[in-house]
Amino acid sequence: MSAPAELRLPRYRRDPEGTHPPLDYAGYRSTVLRHPKEPLIVLPHLLTEVTGPALGPGRIGEFDNDLTKGHAGEPQGQRIIVTGRLLDGDGRPIRDSLVEIWQANAGGRYRHTGDRWPSPLDPNFDGAGRTLTDSEGRYTFTTIKPGAYPWKNHDNAWRPAHIHFSVFGSAFTQRLVTQMYFPEDPLFSQDPIFNSIPDEKARQRMIARFDLDRTEAEWALAFQFDIVVRGREASVFEDEEDEH
């Protein structure tokens, strides 16, 4: 089959104003020297942008979705199961897609040489996990509820407990790194990273839901967190398919 004279590519909807944080946010001091001051230039969605890496099973090890395993003993803290779906903005599941997480331990300490918070390191917890979504876009991690920790952003600053999530979607346009927060955290009001999201409803989408149905008796609590990456605009291809 010869190449079409003009490429017809899927296009991705740009997210509404307020969905994502501004690059310059006074409350979060580290943005001061790191935000571009020139305006961003609109990049049309061409071949490079509508495709993306398909990072499959080759990246996953045996215990990568269970952060409580792989060590001599059990990690300290509250065991939790985190489940959810990776969806696009049209509600379609994104299958066989890499989901990566990293987090602090139960005492709010990261296994990183740069973390000087004098809460103990846990020899049985590294705080990194990976998994692939299944045919319905579902993922599951078993881990430990991370603790809150202080940082030096402002006077008496504390980060709410959170788990970092990284997803690829199925196109370069959909790449997303976010943080999952826990319900009713008393630290939200003073956290500039959480509050950098202008739209209150969008902010709420970063808070997991307590999931009693998925708790395991005498073993683990459970939280549910869906991640949504942007959707596609209706394409010429789909219109044609609808006519068949």
């Binding site: 490429l7 994502h20 943005t31 001051k37 976010t178 969008a202």
Partner: protein, 182 residues
């Protein structure tokens, strides 16, 4: 319909969860045409950013993507096309890749060989996106470069350096890299 989950910073400890030992290798170790692209990520004071990570995405030498949304049909190259490298304490990154091919653009135009780049870092609440072009290619007909003010186009062009190319990323200030709204 579900609405998009907001972006958040990777924070200072992204190296716990994101980098891979083979992340900088876009092509296999025995690839004869491999080139090295290296550079630094710098902040508005010209200081290196040691807690950043770059990710790259590109076509193969024939300008093809191994992806179902490439309407020119599938390729079975085994070429990963994706690179990922955290910055070191000096703000340095590097990837090992091949020169991508030219690509069709809108309205019968041709895109010059390029690599899409995402930059993540502490202090970046949302990734920033740029493109790498190469000084020894003909970039004159590229529709994306043409949309960039002429005085700033140079920030998107990697220069020949040793066994590869140099591409510095300046997040702010003099010579600020062009970043795109994707």
């Amino acid at each position: 319909m579900p609405e998009t989950t907001p972006s958040q910073t990777v924070g200072p400890y992204l190296s716990i969860g994101l980098p891979w030992p083979d992340g900088p290798d876009v092509v296999p170790a025995d690839e004869p045409a491999a080139v090295r692209i290296h550079g630094r990520v710098l902040d508005g004071a010209g200081e290196p950013v040691p807690d950043a990570m770059i990710e790259t995405w590109q076509a193969d030498a024939g300008g093809r993507f191994d992806h179902p949304d490439d309407p020119r049909g599938p390729v079975a190259s085994g070429f990963r096309g994706f690179g990922r490298c955290p910055t070191d304490p000096g703000g340095n990154y590097e990837i090992r890749t091949i020169m991508p091919g030219s690509l069709p653009g809108p309205a019968d135009s041709t895109q010059a060989p390029h690599i899409d780049v995402s930059v993540f870092a502490r202090g970046l609440l949302h990734r920033v996106v740029t493109r790498i072009y190469f000084e020894d290619n003909d970039n004159s007909g590229d529709p994306v470069l043409a949309s960039v003010p002429e005085a700033r186009r140079g920030t998107l062009v990697a220069t020949k350096a040793g066994d590869g190319y140099r591409f510095d990323i300046r997040l702010q200030g003099e010579g600020e890299t062009v970043f795109f709204d994707v």
